[in-house]
C-alpha cells in the first residue's frame, strides 16, 4: 500500500492528479494544501495499519463547515458557524473490523489512530464467529465535486439574515402570528484512501431552507402549522435565490389559517392521491429501508430492525403493482446521496440499479463485504459514514419512484377518484421494525369527490402495510410531475448515524387505503 501512496504524493508534486469532474477550486492554494495534508495523513495511517497487521485499511479525512441561521418572527434567533476536521481509520485484521478516529490532524496521530484500530480488532477477535471477507475494489485516484452555481459560504451572513427576516415578515403580513425559518448550509471535503491504492477527493455542498408558519385561534385555543415543502438538496445558494420565498410564506400563512377551520376527516377506507412532497418519505421508509441487505441478514436487529424482505425474494417478490419501478442512483442532480464514490471507494455507477422493476423486487442495497452473502461479486456503492468518527455502514443511495411513461398529470389522477383524500407535504411518520405497518400524516389534506378536489380536511393520517399498499398503486404521474424530496437526517446504526438522502417521486394514486381521524380530546 505504501508504494501507491508514494506514487500518489509524487503525482501531487508533479501536478498530475486528475480525472473525474474538475474541481472548480482545485487550483486554489487552500484546497491543494488540504489535499496534500490529507495525502500525508493517509499515508501515515495506511503505513501504520499495515505495519500493525491489517490486511485491509481505509482512511477518511474530512473537513466540514456549516452555517445555521434561524429567525423567529421579527428577530434573528441564532447565527452559528462551525468548522471541524478529523480522520477515521478502518482496518480489517484476520476478518475482524477495527475502527478508530482522531480530531488532531498530524501524521503521528494518524499512525496512532491506525494502531488503535488494529488493537480494537485484535481485542474483539474472540467475539468473531464469522470473518469479514471483502471483494476487491478497483484502485482509483480521482476528484469530484457537487456542481453548484453559487457557494453559499460566499454570501455574506447579513444578507442571509435579511432574507430570513423578509420571509418571516411576509408570513406575518399575510396574517400569521408566528413564523420560524432557517437556512442550513454544509460544505464537506472528504478524502478517502485505501490500502487497495485508491485516493479519492470529493467536495459536497448541502443547502436546506425551511419555514414554519403557525396560525392560532385564541378563542378556541386551536392552532395549526404549515411548513415549506422545499427539501434539503445538494445545491448552492442558487437553490434559495431561485425560490419565491415571500410567496411561499404568504401561501403558508393562508394555508395555516384555513387549516384552523378545516373539516374533520371521516375515517375509513378511501382512495388516496399523494403528492410527491408527501410520497418521498413513504418511499424512503417502506422501500428504502426494507431493501437494505444488512437488515435482511439481521445486522440491524438490535436497533433499526430487520426487514420483511428475504434474500430469496430477489427476482420473485411482487412488491408493488406493475406500474411501479424504483431505481437507486448516485448521479441525480441535487441528490443528497449523489457522489462519485461511496464511503467504501466504490464508483457511483454501481449504485444505478433497479430495486423494484415493474412491481417485482430486484435487488438489495449493499456495502463492501456484503455481496457475497447473496452470491454477488461486488457491492452496489451503498456505504456511508456520517463523519470522520463513524464506521461506514450500508446506507441508501438516492432511491426514486420512476414516472409513468405516459404524460399523466396530477389532475388526471384525481379525476379517477370517486371518494378519496389528496395529501400534500410530509407530516408525522412511523413504521415498524420490519417495515410493514406504517402510519403517515401530511401537511395539507383535501377531500376528493367525484374526481374533483373538495374542501380542506384536518386530522388526517393514512395507515397501511408496505406490500399491499404498493400493490394498490394504480396511477402515477408523468415525468413533468417528477419532484426530488429528501432528508439530511436518516438514522441507522449504533452509534446512530445520520445520512443525507434524496428520493424522487411523482404523484401517485392508491386504492382503498385506511384513513384515520387523529382528532382527540385530552
Amino acid at each position: 500500500m505504501s508504494i501507491s501512496r508514494r506514487k500518489f504524493l509524487q503525482s501531487l508534486a508533479a501536478g498530475l492528479l486528475g480525472g473525474g469532474a474538475p474541481l472548480a477550486a482545485a487550483t486554489s492554494e487552500g484546497r491543494s494544501s488540504r489535499r496534500e495534508e490529507a495525502a500525508r495523513l493517509a499515508e501515515a495511517a495506511l503505513d501504520a495499519a499495515r505495519t500493525a497487521g491489517a490486511g485491509y485499511a481505509d482512511v477518511r479525512v474530512l473537513f466540514s463547515e456549516s452555517e445555521v441561521l434561524s429567525a423567529r418572527e421579527e428577530r434573528i434567533e441564532n447565527v452559528e458557524v462551525s468548522a471541524s476536521s478529523g480522520l477515521g481509520v478502518r482496518v480489517l485484521v484476520n476478518g475482524v473490523w477495527g475502527f478508530s478516529s482522531a480530531s488532531v490532524l498530524d501524521p503521528a496521530h494518524a499512525s496512532a489512530c491506525s494502531r488503535s484500530a488494529v488493537e480494537m480488532a485484535k481485542s474483539n477477535r474472540a467475539l468473531a464467529t464469522q470473518r469479514v471477507e471483502l471483494e476487491r475494489v478497483e484502485a482509483r485516484i480521482d476528484r469530484w465535486r457537487v456542481p453548484i452555481e453559487q457557494d453559499p459560504f460566499s454570501i455574506p451572513l447579513d444578507q442571509k439574515a435579511e432574507e430570513l427576516l423578509g420571509i418571516n415578515a411576509a408570513a406575518r403580513a399575510a396574517g400569521a402570528p408566528f413564523c420560524r425559518s432557517f437556512f442550513l448550509f454544509v460544505r464537506q471535503e472528504k478524502f478517502f484512501a485505501s490500502s487497495g491504492g485508491s485516493f479519492l477527493e470529493q467536495l459536497f455542498f448541502r443547502t436546506y431552507p425551511r419555514l414554519t408558519v403557525t396560525a392560532t385561534d385564541p378563542g378556541t385555543g386551536r392552532f395549526a402549522n404549515r411548513s415549506s415543502f422545499l427539501p434539503p438538496r445538494a445545491a448552492g445558494y442558487e437553490y434559495i435565490r431561485l425560490h419565491d420565498w415571500k410567496q411561499e410564506a404568504r401561501q403558508a400563512a393562508e394555508d395555516a389559517s384555513r387549516k384552523l377551520k378545516a373539516k374533520p376527516v371521516a375515517a375509513g377506507k378511501k382512495d388516496l392521491v399523494l403528492h410527491p412532497t408527501n410520497l418521498w418519505l413513504t418511499l424512503h421508509e417502506t422501500i428504502g429501508h426494507s431493501t437494505e441487505l444488512d437488515r435482511a441478514f439481521g445486522y440491524e436487529a438490535g436497533f433499526a430492525g430487520t426487514t420483511f424482505v428475504k434474500p430469496a425474494d430477489r427476482g420473485h417478490l411482487r412488491f408493488a403493482s406493475e406500474i411501479v419501478t424504483v431505481m437507486a442512483d448516485r448521479d441525480q442532480p441535487g441528490g443528497l446521496a449523489t457522489a462519485a464514490y461511496d464511503d467504501d471507494g466504490m464508483p457511483a455507477r454501481y449504485a444505478r440499479f433497479p430495486i423494484i422493476s415493474r412491481g417485482r423486487f430486484e435487488n438489495f442495497q449493499m456495502a463492501i463485504g456484503q455481496s457475497r452473502w447473496i452470491g454477488l461479486p461486488h457491492s452496489n456503492a451503498c456505504s456511508f459514514a456520517e463523519g470522520h468518527a463513524y464506521f461506514p455502514i450500508q446506507r441508501m443511495p438516492n432511491i426514486s419512484l420512476q414516472p409513468s411513461q405516459q404524460d399523466v398529470s396530477l389532475e388526471e389522477l384525481i379525476a379517477g377518484v370517486e371518494d378519496g383524500v389528496y395529501i400534500v407535504g410530509d407530516g408525522s411518520w412511523s413504521i415498524d421494525q420490519q417495515r410493514k405497518n406504517f402510519q403517515f400524516g401530511g401537511q395539507l389534506f383535501y377531500e376528493i369527490r367525484k374526481g374533483k378536489l373538495g374542501e380542506m380536511l384536518r386530522d388526517v393520517a393514512y395507515q397501511s402495510t408496505t406490500v399491499p399498499f404498493w400493490n394498490a398503486c394504480d396511477g402515477l404521474g408523468g415525468v413533468k410531475e417528477y419532484w426530488l424530496g429528501g432528508t439530511l437526517s436518516c438514522g441507522k446504526g449504533q452509534p446512530v448515524q445520520s445520512a443525507p438522502v434524496s428520493h424522487g417521486a411523482v404523484p401517485a394514486r392508491f386504492r382503498g387505503i385506511q384513513i384515520l381521524n387523529t382528532g382527540r380530546g385530552i
Binding site: 421579527e74 434567533e77 473490523w97 480530531s103 392560532t216 384515520l516 382527540r520
Partner: protein, 444 residues
C-alpha cells in the same frame, strides 16, 4: 480528550482572554468513547473516538454570533473567538438578547465513576463474550451494543460564570431473536457507574423475552389496560417532559394552551399517582449540574401528584412574563412504589404487557397525540398472569391521557427509551387503563 478542572479552567480563561466583545460565553467539552456492536452472534463493528468541541458566543450590544470548532490548539481557539465576533458584528440586533448570567452556585456533580472511565476495549470485549455465551447456551441469535464514555464539560462567561463537570456513562443494549425469527426480546440500561448496571441481568431479560414471545396469538386492536415496562414509560413521559414549555403554552400553540391566553399550569391533568421530578443529584440517574445558559440544574417537581407545577421558561420569557426562570431538566425521575413488575401483573385481570416502544412520532401537537409501535416482547395478561405472547401493535395515544389513566406504578429503575435514550432516567413500570392500540403490526 479529557481535561481536568484545572486544565479546563486554564483553557477557558485563555479563550475568554482573546475576546474583544462586550460579553462572551464559551462551552467546552471533550470525550473518550469506546463501543462494540454484536449481531448474528458475532462482532460486527467497533470504534474508538477521542473528541473535543468548543462553542463561543460573542456579543456587541444586542448583536450576537456563535462559532464552533473541534480543535483545542490556542491558535484555533483564538480564531474561533474572532470568528464569533465577526458573526456578531454582521448579525442583526436580537431584541431578546440578554447578557450571560454571572457566577452561580451549583450542586456537586454526581455522575462520574473512575472505574467506568478506566474501562478498555478488552473489558468491552469480555462483556461481549457474556452476551455470546448466553446466546449460544439459550440457542438464540444475540445482538448487543456496549458503549462506554468518559467526558468533561465546562461553561464559562466573561461575567464570571464558571462551571465544570466530569461524567461517565455506560450504556448496554441487548437484543435476542429466536432462530426461527418468531420471538424477539430486548433489554437496555444506562448508568454512570458499573455498580449501577448489570449486563448479565439484561442478557437474561432479553433472551427470556425472546424465548417467551415465540408464536404470538392474534389480538385485535382496541382499547386495553396496559403494563408498560420502564423503557416504554421513559419514552412517553420523556416526550411529555420536553413538551412542558411555557412560551408556546402562553402563545396559544401548545397542548397546554387554554382559551383566552391561559395555560394549564396549576391544573390537575394527571392521576394523583404521578409525580415527575428532575434532580441532578439523584443517586442512580444523576443529571448534568448545569442547564440552559449555564444556569444551575436544581431539583424541581414538574408534576406533583397529578398537578402541573412547573413549565420550562428561559430567561427572556421569564422576564417578559415576570415569572421565574426555569431551565430545562437534565434528568427524568418518575414516582413509583415498591411493587415489582410481577406484583403489578398480579393486579391485572386482562391487559397487555409492553416491553418497549419503537418509532414514536408526534401526530398532533394540539393533544400531544403520539404514534409508535410495540416491539421485542408483547404479552397478554389474564387473571394476574402472563398468559401468552400476542402480536405487536401500533398505538395512537397521548402521554397526557396515559398519565391521566394511570392505575399503578412499579419500582423505579434506570432505563433508556427508544427515542429518549440520552437523558439519565429512573422510571417505573406503569399500569394504565384504556390505552389505544389502533392497528396490528405483524413485525416480530
Amino acid at each position: 480528550m479529557i481535561l481536568s478542572e484545572g486544565e479546563a479552567r486554564e483553557l477557558g480563561t485563555k479563550l475568554l482572554s482573546y475576546s474583544r466583545a462586550e460579553t462572551a460565553v464559551a462551552e467546552i467539552s471533550g470525550w473518550s468513547r469506546l463501543n462494540v456492536r454484536l449481531a448474528c452472534n458475532t462482532v460486527t463493528t467497533d470504534g474508538e473516538d477521542e473528541g473535543f468541541h468548543c462553542r463561543v458566543e460573542s456579543s456587541f450590544g444586542k448583536r450576537r454570533g456563535e462559532a464552533a470548532g473541534n480543535k483545542a490548539d490556542p491558535n484555533d481557539l483564538a480564531a474561533l473567538v474572532r470568528r464569533s465576533e465577526e458573526v456578531a458584528r454582521v448579525s442583526p440586533e436580537d431584541p431578546e438578547f440578554l447578557p450571560p448570567p454571572g457566577a452561580q452556585t451549583y450542586p456537586p456533580a454526581k455522575g462520574y465513576s473512575s472505574e467506568a472511565a478506566r474501562l478498555s476495549a478488552k473489558d468491552l470485549a469480555e462483556k461481549g463474550q457474556t452476551v455470546l455465551a448466553a446466546a449460544q447456551a439459550k440457542r438464540v441469535v444475540g445482538a448487543a451494543f456496549l458503549e462506554c464514555e468518559s467526558s468533561f464539560s465546562a461553561y464559562t462567561a466573561t461575567t464570571g460564570l464558571w462551571v465544570f463537570q466530569q461524567a461517565t456513562r455506560l450504556q448496554y443494549t441487548v437484543s435476542a431473536r429466536t432462530r426461527d425469527g418468531e420471538g424477539a426480546g430486548w433489554a437496555a440500561s444506562a448508568a454512570y457507574s458499573p455498580n449501577e448496571i448489570s449486563l448479565p441481568v439484561l442478557v437474561e431479560r432479553a433472551m427470556e423475552k425472546a424465548l417467551r414471545s415465540r408464536h404470538p396469538q392474534p389480538l385485535a386492536p382496541g382499547s386495553y389496560t396496559v403494563l408498560l415496562e420502564p423503557s416504554a414509560v421513559c419514552d412517553l413521559v420523556g416526550m411529555l417532559l420536553f413538551s412542558l414549555h411555557a412560551r408556546p403554552a402562553d402563545e396559544g400553540r401548545s397542548f397546554l394552551s387554554r382559551p383566552g391566553g391561559k395555560t394549564a399550569l396549576g391544573e390537575t391533568l394527571f392521576s394523583d399517582l404521578i409525580s415527575l421530578r428532575s434532580d441532578p443529584e439523584d443517586a442512580v440517574a444523576p443529571g448534568s449540574i448545569y442547564s440552559t445558559d449555564g444556569l444551575p440544574a436544581t431539583p424541581r417537581v414538574w408534576i406533583d401528584q397529578g398537578k402541573l407545577q412547573e413549565l420550562i421558561r428561559p430567561r427572556f420569557w421569564a422576564q417578559e412574563k415576570k415569572a421565574p426562570t426555569i431551565p430545562e431538566p437534565t434528568n427524568l425521575l418518575l414516582s413509583g412504589s415498591d411493587r415489582s413488575t410481577e406484583e403489578l401483573i398480579q393486579r391485572i385481570d386482562r391487559g397487555v404487557l409492553v416491553t418497549r416502544l419503537w418509532y414514536i412520532r408526534t401526530v398532533d401537537p394540539r393533544t400531544l397525540l403520539l404514534t409508535g409501535l410495540t416491539r421485542d416482547g408483547t404479552f397478554w395478561i389474564e387473571k394476574g398472569k402472563i398468559a401468552h405472547p400476542v402480536n405487536n401493535f401500533r398505538f395512537n395515544e397521548s402521554p397526557v391521557t396515559l398519565l391521566k389513566n394511570a392505575l399503578a406504578l412499579g419500582k423505579p429503575e434506570a432505563t433508556v427509551g427508544s427515542e429518549v435514550d440520552d437523558l439519565p432516567a429512573r422510571v417505573p413500570a406503569l399500569v394504565a387503563k384504556e390505552f389505544t392500540f389502533s392497528s396490528v403490526s405483524q413485525a416480530s
